[in-house]
C-alpha cells in the first residue's frame, strides 16, 4: 500500500510537471507564438486580432503567477482554449474526436506487440543454444528500423503495388459511421497497415528485453529447484522463470511507451490516420499553437496514466511490493 501511495504521489508530481511544462514552453521558448503567426501573415493582421490571439493563448501582461493561476483554473474546467485552424471549435472538442482513434490503434497494437514480443522472448530463451539464437541479431534490425520508413515501405508494397489495403484515412467516407458491418469492416481494413507497422517496429524491443531477463533468471536457484522438483518444462519456464523475468519488462514500460507513442505519431501522419498524432502534425504545420499545446498535454497525461496502470499491475505481479512498509 505504501508502495502504491508512493507511486501515486510520483505520478501526481509528474502530471503536475507536464501541466506546468505545457504552461512554460510557449512563454520561455525564444519564439513568441503570436509573433510567429504575425510573421507568417507578413504583418497583414489587425492589431485587434493580435490582442485577441494573445488572449486566446492566455498571454497577457499580467504577472506570470496570475497567468499560471488562470491557466490552472481553465484547465480544471477542461478548457484548453480555442483552436485556430478549426476556429471557433474548442481545442478539447478537436482532441475528443481524435483521441478514440489513437487509443484504439496504439492501445491495441501496444498490447499485441508486448504479448507477442514477450512470448517470443521466452521461447527464444527456452531454445538457447539452438539455431534460433541466430534470430536474435536479426531482431536488432527491427528494433532500430524507423517507424515511418517501415510504414512507407509497407504502403509501397501492399497499398500501391498490390492494392490490398487503402492508403489513408481511418474509414471509407462512403460508409455511415455507426455500429454497422460496412463501417466496422472499413475501420478494420484501414487499421491493418498502420497496426502492422507499429507492431513490427516495436515488438523487437520486447523480445530482446525479455530474452535478456530470461537468460539471467534461468541461472537462478529457484529455477534449478523447480527443475529438480520434476515439474513439467512448461511450468518451469512459465511459472518460475518467465513469471520473474517479466517484472523488469513491466517496469520498463515507461521507456518503451514513449517511443511507441512517438512512433505512432509518425505512423498516423503517413496514413493520414485521424488520431492525436496526425492532428498534432497538422497543428504544428498550421501553427495552431493552442491545439498543439492541448494535444501535448493530453498525450503526456495518457502516457502517465498508462504508466500508473503498469505499476498497479506490477503490484499484483510482485508480492514484495504489497507488504513493504
Amino acid at each position: 500500500m505504501k508502495y502504491f501511495l508512493r507511486k501515486l504521489g510520483l505520478y501526481a508530481f509528474i502530471a503536475w510537471a507536464a501541466i506546468t511544462l505545457n504552461f512554460l514552453i510557449p512563454r520561455l521558448m525564444p519564439g513568441d507564438p503570436v509573433g510567429l503567426l504575425v510573421n507568417k501573415l507578413h504583418g497583414n493582421i489587425d492589431p485587434n486580432a493580435i490582442a485577441a490571439l494573445k488572449k486566446a493563448f492566455g498571454i497577457t501582461n499580467a504577472p506570470m503567477i496570475n497567468q499560471y493561476w488562470d491557466y490552472l483554473v481553465n484547465l480544471s474546467h477542461g478548457d484548453l482554449g480555442v483552436s485556430l485552424t478549426y476556429y471557433p471549435v474548442p481545442v478539447s472538442d478537436v482532441i475528443t474526436s481524435a483521441l478514440p482513434w489513437t487509443l484504439g490503434l496504439v492501445g491495441i497494437t501496444t498490447i499485441i506487440s508486448f504479448f507477442v514480443g514477450t512470448a517470443l522472448g521466452i521461447w527464444l530463451s527456452w531454445r538457447r543454444g539452438t539455431w534460433t539464437d541466430s534470430i536474435v541479431p536479426a531482431m536488432t534490425f527491427f528494433s532500430a528500423v524507423p517507424y515511418f520508413w517501415l510504414a512507407l515501405v509497407l504502403v509501397l508494397i501492399f497499398g500501391v503495388t498490390l492494392g490490398w489495403v487503402p492508403l489513408s484515412g481511418a474509414y471509407d467516407t462512403g460508409t455511415t459511421p455507426g455500429v454497422n458491418a460496412p463501417f466496422i469492416g472499413s475501420i478494420l481494413q484501414h487499421a491493418v497497415l498502420p497496426a502492422v507497422t507499429i507492431v513490427l517496429a516495436s515488438f523487437a524491443g520486447w523480445i530482446l528485453g525479455m530474452r535478456n531477463m530470461m537468460m539471467t533468471t534461468l541461472g537462478e536457484d529457484y529455477v534449478s529447484m523447480a527443475e529438480a522438483k520434476g515439474l513439467r518444462t512448461r511450468t518451469v519456464m512459465v511459472r518460475y522463470a518467465a513469471r520473474n523475468a517479466i517484472l523488469p519488462s513491466v517496469t520498463s514500460f515507461a521507456l518503451a511507451l514513449g517511443s511507441v507513442v512517438g512512433g505512432s505519431i509518425l505512423t498516423e501522419v503517413i496514413f493520414n490516420y485521424p488520431g492525436v498524432g496526425y492532428t498534432l502534425f497538422l497543428a504544428v504545420q498550421s501553427q495552431d499553437f493552442p491545439l498543439m499545446q492541448g494535444l501535448f498535454l493530453i498525450i503526456s497525461l495518457t502516457v502517465i496514466v498508462a504508466n500508473l496502470l503498469a505499476d498497479i499491475i506490477y503490484i499484483f505481479l510482485d508480492p514484495r511490493t504489497r507488504s513493504e512498509g
Binding site: 510557449p26 507564438p33 528494433s143 532500430a144 524507423p146 529438480a228 522438483k229 509518425l266
Partner: protein, 608 residues
C-alpha cells in the same frame, strides 16, 4: 598489443563493427567520391539507379547518392552530438543521485522520472515548433535535452548497488574524498553501462532527427537522411514507385541502428556472461562457473606436471601444495557396515568443462556408495567439484559441463538398479523429487519470490500426486511445515515474509513432501548464522530418524560433517582424495589434504 587481439571474437560484435566502420567511412569519404552537389538539380528527373546516378535521382533531378552520403555525415553527426551531451548529463545526474542519496537523490529521481515518462517525440515536436529558425545545432540540442533520462535511471541504480560493494566501502573507510571515489572507483565499474547507453543514444539521436525532419520540423535546408525522406514523401515518391529515393536513407538508419545494437551485445555479454549464445564456454551459467573455478584449479595442477610449466614463476606455495596433494594416492576405506542396502551407487563419474583454454576436469573418476538412511558427508573447498558431482546425480548440470563417463545406479526396493544418467526425459521427471530431492545452498534464492509457499508445495503435489484433492494437498503442506517447526498457517506467506532460517526450513519441508529416498543438501546451512545453523541441523537429524531418507550433505565445514555423518568423502580439485567411515576420517586420516583440513580445525579448536 597486437591488432588481432583488439579484434573481437564474437561474430555479432564483428558484424556490428563492420557496419559502423563502413558508415563512418561513407560519411568521411563519401562526399569525395560523389560527383554532384547534394542540392544541384538536373535534367534527369526520377531516374532509377544508373551508372551516372548510382542511386537514381529525385523529382527535381538531384543525385540521390550525393544526398545519401551527405545525409550520412549530418545524421551521424547529430547522433554523435546527442549521445555525447546527453550521456554526460545522464552520468552526472545518475551518479550524483545514486552516490549522495538523500534529498539530492530524491530530487534527481523525480526530475529523471518526469523526463522518462513524458513522451519524447511529442515534447520534441512542441519544442521545435517554437524555435524561430531551426538549424541542425538547435535540433540536436533539443534532442539531447529529451533523451538522457533512461541512461540516468540505469546508472543511478548501478551506483546505488556499487556504493555498498566492498571496494567502495573500503575506499570510504580509508578516507578518500567523495569525488575521488566517484571518478576512481565508481565510474570505471560503470563503463559497460555508459558505453551501452552511448550506443543507444546515437541510435536514438539519429532516429529522432530523422523523425523530426520527416515531419518537416527539422532543418530542411540541410540534407540529412530525415529530410531526404521528407522530400521523398512530399514528392510522393512511393506513388511513382521511386523506391530508390526513400529506401536507401531508411534502410541505412535501420542497418546502422542494428550495427550499434550488435556492438552492444558484445558489451552486454562482457558485463554478464550468462547472456552469451553459441558454442563452448559461452553458455556457462552460475553453477557452471562456480564449478569451473574448481576445474581451473585442477587444470593448473595438471599443467604443473608438464615440464614447460614448471619454470612458470606463478607457481607459488599453494600450487606446490596442490601438487603434493595430487601425487598422494587417494585413500579409500571400505565403508562401515550399515544395516541398509545400497540405494545409490556412483561409479567412476567423470565430468568435463570444455573451455576456450582447453578442457578442464570438474569431476575426475569419483565412485561413492550411499545406503538407505545413511548420511554421507561430502567435504571440500568451493570449487573442489562437490557441487558438480551432486548436480550430476540430480541431473542438474548445465552446459558446458558434460558427463563423459561413469554411471549413477539407483536401486528401488526389490528391483534391479537403474542408471540415473540414462533416464529419458519423462523417467527423469518422475524420478525427481519423488525419489531424490534437493535442498539448495541458499534458500533466499531457492524459493520463487513471487509465488506463495503453498503454491510451491502445490505444484509438486499436483504433478506427482494427481489423484490428491486440494484439501488433502493443503493439509499435507501445513503438516510438513509443522514438522519443520513452522506454524501451518504460514503456508500462505510469500518467501520475503520469512526469516532466512525459516526459508531454509521451508525448503527442507518442500524437499520432504513426497517422502523421497534421497535428499541432496548442497551446503544447506552455510548462509545461516551459527545458532540458526545448529537448529536446522538438529531438525534435519530428527526428520531423518522419522522419515528414514538418506542424505548427501555437502559443505566445506569438516567439523560439522564429523559430527553428523555416517561416512565422509573428501574432494579436492575434482578428485576423491579420501573416503570412509566418519570415525576413521577423524582418527586416522591418511591423505595430506584431509590432514591439512583436520589440522586447521585442531588449531581453531586450540585457540578457542
Amino acid at each position: 598489443m597486437k591488432i588481432t587481439s583488439l579484434w573481437p571474437k564474437s561474430g555479432k560484435v564483428r558484424a556490428g563493427l563492420i557496419i559502423v566502420i563502413f558508415f563512418i567511412a561513407l560519411a568521411l569519404f563519401g562526399p569525395l567520391i560523389a560527383h554532384y552537389s547534394p542540392e544541384a538539380t538536373g535534367s534527369d528527373v526520377l531516374s532509377p539507379p544508373t551508372l551516372k546516378h548510382w542511386l537514381g535521382t529525385t523529382q527535381t533531378g538531384e543525385d540521390i547518392f550525393s544526398q545519401f552520403v551527405n545525409g550520412a555525415r549530418l545524421s551521424m553527426l547529430v547522433g554523435l552530438f546527442v549521445a555525447v551531451f546527453s550521456n554526460i548529463f545522464a552520468v552526472v545526474v545518475g551518479m550524483i543521485g545514486g552516490y549522495f542519496r538523500g534529498v539530492t537523490d530524491a530530487g534527481m529521481y523525480i526530475i529523471t522520472s518526469v523526463f522518462l515518462i513524458i513522451p519524447g517525440l511529442p515534447l520534441l515536436i512542441v519544442l521545435t515548433a517554437y524555435i524561430p529558425s531551426r538549424g541542425l545545432l538547435s535540433i540536436a540540442i533539443v534532442i539531447a535535452v529529451t533523451s538522457w533520462a533512461g541512461t540516468a535511471r540505469v546508472l543511478r541504480a548501478q551506483t546505488l548497488s556499487l556504493r555498498k560493494r566492498d571496494f567502495v566501502e573500503a575506499a570510504r573507510a580509508t578516507g578518500e574524498s567523495r569525488w575521488r571515489i566517484i571518478f576512481a572507483e565508481i565510474i570505471p565499474s560503470e563503463v559497460p553501462l555508459i558505453a551501452s547507453g552511448f550506443l543507444f543514444m546515437v541510435i536514438g539521436g539519429i532516429l529522432a532527427e530523422a523523425g523530426l525532419s520527416f515531419l518537416g520540423l527539422g532543418s530542411l535546408t540541410t540534407v540529412s537522411w530525415g529530410s531526404m525522406l521528407y522530400f521523398a514523401e512530399s514528392g510522393q515518391a512511393f506513388l511513382y514507385g521511386a523506391w530508390w529515393w526513400f529506401v536507401p536513407p531508411g534502410l541505412a538508419i535501420a542497418v546502422i541502428g542494428a550495427g550499434l545494437a550488435l556492438i552492444n551485445f558484445g558489451i552486454d555479454e562482457y558485463a554478464d556472461p550468462r547472456l552469451r549464445t553459441g558454442r563452448k564456454l559461452k553458455k556457462s551459467d552460475r553453477r557452471g562457473t562456480r564449478a569451473l573455478e574448481g576445474g581451473m584449479t585442477s587444470l593448473r595442477t595438471s599443467l604443473a606436471d608438464e615440464p614447460e610449466a614448471v619454470g612458470d614463476p606463478t607457481i607459488d606455495a599453494r600450487a606446490a601444495l596442490n601438487d603434493e596433494y595430487e601425487r598422494a594416492a587417494a585413500v579409500i576405506r571400505p565403508p562401515r557396515r550399515l544395516p541398509g542396502e545400497t540405494i545409490l551407487d556412483i561409479r567412476h563419474v567423470r565430468v568435463d568443462y570444455p573451455t576456450a583454454h582447453g578442457t578442464v576436469h570438474g569431476v575426475r573418476d569419483v565412485s561413492l556408495v550411499l545406503r538407505r538412511g545413511e548420511i554421507l558427508g561430502l567435504a571440500g573447498e568451493s570449487g573442489s567439484g562437490k557441487s558438480t558431482l551432486t548436480n550430476t546425480v540430480a541431473r542438474l548440470l548445465r552446459a558446458p559441463a558434460q558427463v563423459i563417463g561413469g554411471e549413477v545406479l539407483y536401486s528401488r526396493p526389490g528391483q534391479l538398479p537403474v542408471d540415473v544418467l540414462k533416464f529419458s526425459a519423462e523417467e527423469l521427471r518422475r524420478f525427481r523429487w519423488a525419489e531424490l530431492s534437493v535442498v539448495f545452498q541458499s534458500a533466499m534464492n531457492a524459493l520463487n519470490p513471487v509465488i506463495s509457499i503453498w503454491g510451491q508445495f502445490d505444484d509438486v503435489l499436483r504433478v506427482h500426486r494427481p489423484s490428491m484433492k486440494k484439501s488433502e494437498r493443503l493439509a499435507l503442506a501445513k503438516d510438513m511445515l509443522v514438522r519443520v517447526g513452522i506454524d501451518g498457517d504460514r503456508v500462505h506467506s510469500y518467501p520475503h515474509e520469512l526469516s532466512g532460517g525459516m526459508k531454509q526450513r521451508v525448503a527442507i519441508a518442500i524437499a520432504l513432501v513426497l517422502n523421497p529416498d534421497i535428499i541432496i543438501m548442497d551446503e544447506p546451512t552455510t548462509a545461516l548464522d551459527l545458532l540458526v545453523q545448529r537448529e536446522v541441523i538438529e531438525q534435519i537429524m530428527k526428520l531423518r530418524d522419522d522419515f528414514g531418507f538418506a542424505v548427501v550433505f555437502t559443505t566445506h565445514d569438516l567439523a560439522l560433517l564429523l559430527e553428523i555423518s555416517d561416512s565422509i568423502a573428501v574432494m579436492q580439485a575434482g578428485r576423491l582424495v579420501e573416503y570412509g567411515p566418519a570415525e576413521a576420517i577423524q582418527t586416522e586420516a591418511a591423505h595430506p589434504y584431509t590432514r591439512a583440513l583436520l589440522d586447521s580445525l585442531a588449531e581453531l579448536g586450540a585457540r578457542l
